[in-house]
Symmetry: C2
Subunit: 590 residues, 2 copies
């Protein structure tokens, strides 16, 4: 194989190398024969370069080049020459030169791939996943993987420089009593016992703080056996971070700096700091979402005060029974057809509204389902509150607080997308803070921790734990970007008295709590420092960095929504002997 | 909490800060009261500093300091002052100063820990593992974890700079047909099917090469459900690396550079390059091991030619039946007592020898079990071959090749340790190359791949695949250090014709092979580049860097040899409902 070793990558072959002899290694991207010459585009990880074989230069090389087809793996030696003026390709980095092929070595042949190795691909995703190794050859996928790699390095370097220690936590661990469904791993040695794959390293990272590691991070693989959606995977990667003794403000500002650096150094985006902050309450009120997309306005406006005494009972009735009436203004859409409005009404219903009331401020006067029910004063007050002008459309939802937020929050985002109101080049970061500490479950008639039972309540709300737990706000914070939650964290409880109050609010005795969280509570008795942290959804961050819309595009070997790997066909049946070794058997259907 | 936030780490408080007021956060390492003063050693991740509380400076601080005990978590504010000349502690980085305590804030109290937070610890390992969060507070453990962290960063940065892309592979994957026992994960969605946790990302990393990623790495968590020894863990971390188109020499030299950089930048050790190389055959012949400890000599010497016709039948008989007689020289130990020699004989027997023959070259003449059976010429020839001199002891083993190597290889290492022949500050790296491609199993009457079925045979040995498979050498290489294999890899087969010959040698038809390795073989048909790689045992490398002797010391939360986590008590029984969800049940004992 002497002489077949790469001297240059494809895209290193530019005008500076003209006259030099190079050896390239790579794949045949395409071949075409023209006027007795053979043209090959040779592709490697760096990109592509054109090679031309001329019988007058090397009949032997032509003879071999004639045999090769797309995706053959070659070594090519030849001289870098300038292209004829008319054949320069300004779209290619190497478009001013070509390689005059002198020798070809075929490392390997290739069958015709099931789809072309090109970016604009109209092929079923299942085929792409089955042949992922071919899909990953496409430059778009390579670019995404390289962004992922670069992102990992930037984050690691930042955290290292800020004194965070990368530490690994077990994958074979213990099933957690609260939370999502666990993936279980039967033990061969301990008959009838199971490991669980971690949903997150939460308990371990808090133990690192008790252990005095002070600043920890990990790119942690996490597992949740939940029903999957397009943006969920059974296994996912989170950037897991925890710190002791750090004031929250210092910590949040550090995280902003890290994320800004990440966006700057991967995709060249300047992220202004500090990030704006919204309380949970404000986010829900103005955007109907705890992860608002702040790239556009179209805020929700509360009209309850205006419509409390309205003669339109749909509105006043909802308010009287403790609900709200809120509206969003769709600029310049007063002329929408009935059909168009109905379509949005169906969306509203799909997200829980009984109906979508509307009013179009047309040149000629008001139109719409509620126009005739509102008084002139009410209309004037609504226009003032919403800022709606002639030519605008108003959508109203009257219902309880949750439905109003869900429906208008969803409509807001969908309308903005439909109307192209979103600048795809904008990256609107924010912190959402002061989340409720607890959520009430009507079903179980008890409170559950919204985040987890070690989340610190805000100092001024601690007394409420005993009197009105639902109103207690947590020292929790989510980082949101363009409508996605990309990270979430909190300060943790480290004082025993607050922890006990928390458990009481959750209806757990200290004994019950020890039963459930024994080793962490015990650890806290040996000198737990004040600490807190965050976990970023790394796959999602990569998705946003790479401008993709699906998590599967950002993971090298993802699973389908049914949890299948189409390449390896995992999961699969196993040998009886394997099950015997593990002391389990397939349960007969019940 | 104003005024309690750390301004400095403990060990930042040196003479340069004298006169400055600082706030420290950390744990009470110890407290002692002396002449009305209270002395606290405050510990944080950086180390320790002494704080003194004087009622004349702050009676309030003294009042609080009186309450605190070991492992309390404090914020302390005070002035940095020089110590009295007689009280300087030259063993402490902060030994020239102390903090004059003015304010104390108790973040948290602590119960008396079950063992002292100090390096020289005489406490059962099971207690340390149960309270791992306290064990990790010890400076030796912190140092090990920091070395582990630093090692990860150095390796990553090196590989990144050399064009390797960090890519993640699935943890939920498919059970592999050959290899160690898999950990299985029952699927909830696909009834009766199972994922397997990866034993290594071998197949995926080769797919990355087919995908044109060209250079890949990952710190990969791997799982093997084997019976555990002191230096095995059910889950372990390997530095997994693969590259396309790289000449083997270039690759090995890159890996040497990486490891040298790692040892230099973590523990300041200069590693000479290039590493010496030994073929597998040479390593076995000279050291009786394929991972020889090269920090000392005591090589095995083959005496078969000398003793072939010996009248001592134990020797000549072994040689006649195809075996060997080999010896090692134990310098200066001719005076060992019979008891001492017998002890070594028992070691030899434990590793498979029928007995250990010995001969002491005493001042007064020969002694030992074989002395009287050997002729003068034989003794002279043996002395010449081994270089043994008066005062030395010779140990002989006569048996088949494998037993001779096993026993003398083991004795060599144990003797060197017992005799203190090993310089603990030496790091003797080497490559062991040309491993046999195949191993014959008498039991199954067939060959097995020694590494895996995609390991490339040496070109000149390819014809032997059909005629004498046991003699085929592989393009495989192990990196060894001080008697440990720290990394192993190979060039891979990428040509279909060689792959078919390999399968034939393994007694597999192409159809069987597709059944077992289907998706990888299919991938190879679409343009596989020449590629190869290596995997380093990261836990073991950390062990050697940190000067530890047990892998458990190098993993934050390790498992015991029975696969138990003593902290979380994993594995553990789970709810019936969880098993129902997964369509499995505990098998009744058979």
């Amino acid at each position: 194989m002497e002489g077949v070793h790469r001297t240059h990558f494809a895209t290193e072959c530019t005008k500076e190398l003209v006259g030099k002899r190079v050896t390239l290694n790579g794949w045949v991207h395409k071949r075409r024969d023209l006027g007795g010459l053979i043209f090959l585009d040779l592709r490697d990880r760096s990109g592509r370069v054109q090679v031309v074989f001329n019988p007058e230069i090397s009949p032997e090389a032509v003879r071999i080049a004639e045999q090769v087809r797309s995706e053959y793996v070659l070594a090519i030696t030849g001289k870098v020459v300038e292209r004829e003026p008319g054949t320069v390709n300004p779209n290619m980095k190497t478009g001013e030169i070509e390689i005059q092929g002198e020798q070809v070595h075929v490392f390997n042949a290739a069958k015709t791939p099931p789809f072309m190795i090109q970016d604009d691909l109209d092929v079923d995703e299942s085929i792409r996943l089955k042949y992922r190794y071919l899909d990953l050859r496409r430059s778009k996928m390579q670019k995404t993987m390289l962004i992922r790699h670069r992102a990992m390095q930037i984050v690691r370097q930042f955290l290292d420089q800020h004194g965070f220690v990368e530490m690994e936590t077990p994958m074979l661990t213990r099933s957690t009593p609260e939370g999502a469904r666990d993936y279980l791993v039967p033990s061969r040695v301990h008959e009838g016992s199971f490991y669980a794959l971690p949903q997150s390293p939460q308990l371990f990272k808090q133990l690192f703080m008790v252990a005095g590691m002070e600043r920890y991070f990990q790119f942690a693989r996490c597992f949740r056996d939940e029903d999957l959606r397009a943006d969920r995977q059974p296994e996912f990667t989170q950037i897991d971070i925890e710190a002791s003794f750090l004031p929250t403000e210092t910590f949040l500002s550090m995280m902003e700096e890290m994320v800004a650096k990440l966006f700057k150094e991967t995709i060249g985006v300047e992220v202004p700091r500090p990030f704006p902050r919204l309380t949970y309450q404000e986010a829900m009120e103005r955007y109907g979402s705890d992860k608002p997309d702040l790239r556009f306005g179209m805020e929700l406006v509360d009209l309850s005060d205006i419509l409390r005494d309205s003669s339109f009972k749909v509105f006043s009735g909802a308010i009287a029974s403790g609900g709200q009436v809120k509206a969003i203004t769709v600029k310049g859409c007063a002329d929408w057809s009935r059909k168009e409005v109905d379509n949005w009404g169906q969306v509203a219903q799909a997200f829980g509204a009984k109906g979508l009331a509307w009013m179009a401020l047309k040149e000629g006067g008001l139109k719409g389902s509620v126009a005739k029910f509102l008084s002139e004063e009410e209309v004037a007050a609504i226009q003032k509150a919403t800022g709606a002008e002639t030519g605008d459309m108003l959508f109203f939802v009257a219902d309880n607080k949750k439905v109003v937020a869900d429906v208008l929050g969803e409509l807001r985002v969908r309308l903005a997308k439909a109307l192209n109101l979103i600048d795809p080049d904008r990256y609107a970061f924010a912190w959402v803070t002061e989340f409720p500490l607890l959520e009430y479950s009507e079903e179980d008639n008890r409170y559950y921790a919204m985040h987890h039972p070690f989340t610190m309540p805000m100092e001024e709300d601690v007394p409420l734990l005993e009197t009105d737990p639902g109103r207690v706000r947590a020292k929790a914070y989510d980082m949101v970007l363009n409508g996605f939650e990309i990270g979430g964290g909190s300060q943790r409880i480290y004082q025993r008295d607050i922890q006990e109050k928390m458990f009481q609010a959750l209806g757990l005795s200290m004994e019950d709590a020890k039963e459930k969280f024994g080793f962490l509570l015990e650890a806290f008795e040996y000198g737990a420092p004040p600490h807190g942290g965050i976990a970023f959804g790394f796959d999602r961050i990569v998705m946003l960095l790479a401008g993709r819309t699906n998590l599967r595009e950002c993971i090298a070997f993802p699973k389908t929504t049914s949890g299948t790997c189409l390449l390896t066909e995992a999961p699969a049946p196993v040998d009886e002997q394997q099950l015997n070794d593990l002391h389990i058997q397939i349960a007969t259907q019940k």
